[in-house]
Symmetry: C2
Subunit: 132 residues, 2 copies
């Protein structure tokens, strides 16, 4: 089994830094305006970096928000099994790292007996801070 290189290119590093330092999910065009000081100028440069970073397990895409979040899971080597908690008020997003959940979903068989190597789960609710 060939292991995908985790080495990052110049643009990938630049984009990853921006995603990391953002406090929560960040949008592609927000990243773009930020990385302009690093010489990047056009959307494809950002989107290409984002795609690679996702494949390399460095960041995740929050599908329901068209936004990107750096991976909090030190053990995460891929982008294949993800779960998030999303606050419907403040829009805060947290990655859920929970063995019971990931085991259940990884072992889940549908009615045809099929298992899945890849999933994305998004939970929606009101976070602690917004409740109080």
């Amino acid at each position: 089994m060939k292991i995908k290189s985790q080495k990052l290119s110049k643009n990938e590093k630049v984009v990853l830094e921006v995603v990391k330092k953002s406090n929560g999910p960040i949008k592609a065009y927000t990243i773009l305006s930020d990385v302009k000081k690093n010489g990047l100028k056009a959307p494809p440069q950002v989107y290409r970096a984002l795609d690679k970073l996702i494949k390399k397990g460095k960041i995740h895409r929050i599908e329901s928000k068209n936004a990107y979040l750096d991976c909090q899971n030190s053990k995460c080597k891929t982008s294949s099994r993800t779960a998030f908690s999303i606050c419907q008020k403040c829009e805060k997003v947290t990655e859920i790292i929970n063995t019971k959940l990931s085991k259940f979903l990884s072992n889940f068989k549908d009615d045809a007996g099929k298992e899945y190597q890849k999933y994305n789960l998004e939970f929606y609710g009101i976070c602690k801070k917004c409740k109080s």
Copy 2:
């Protein structure tokens, strides 16, 4: 507890028919070009109908595809707890209706002990047909 009306407006009916008769997830602008023969002309008319239909539990949005699918679950009264199987080859999408899964996710407590009223789960794999 007030029950949300399931009554559909004219445009909602028109859009729902198009989603229903489509063989799988359908895009907003595909719907638009289809409903032009019914007199609808502009994106907002379609998007408004889609939003309402989702809230009324008649259709679902497949987040990772920006596409819409009619709800297969006769018992589905809301859009709050959804699970789908998505083929990575042919892009076929099937709604997963599985009590074990929905129970597990509805009862799931995160590390803070929090439960969620709403979730969306997307499984990715290769469907039977594409495998053979």
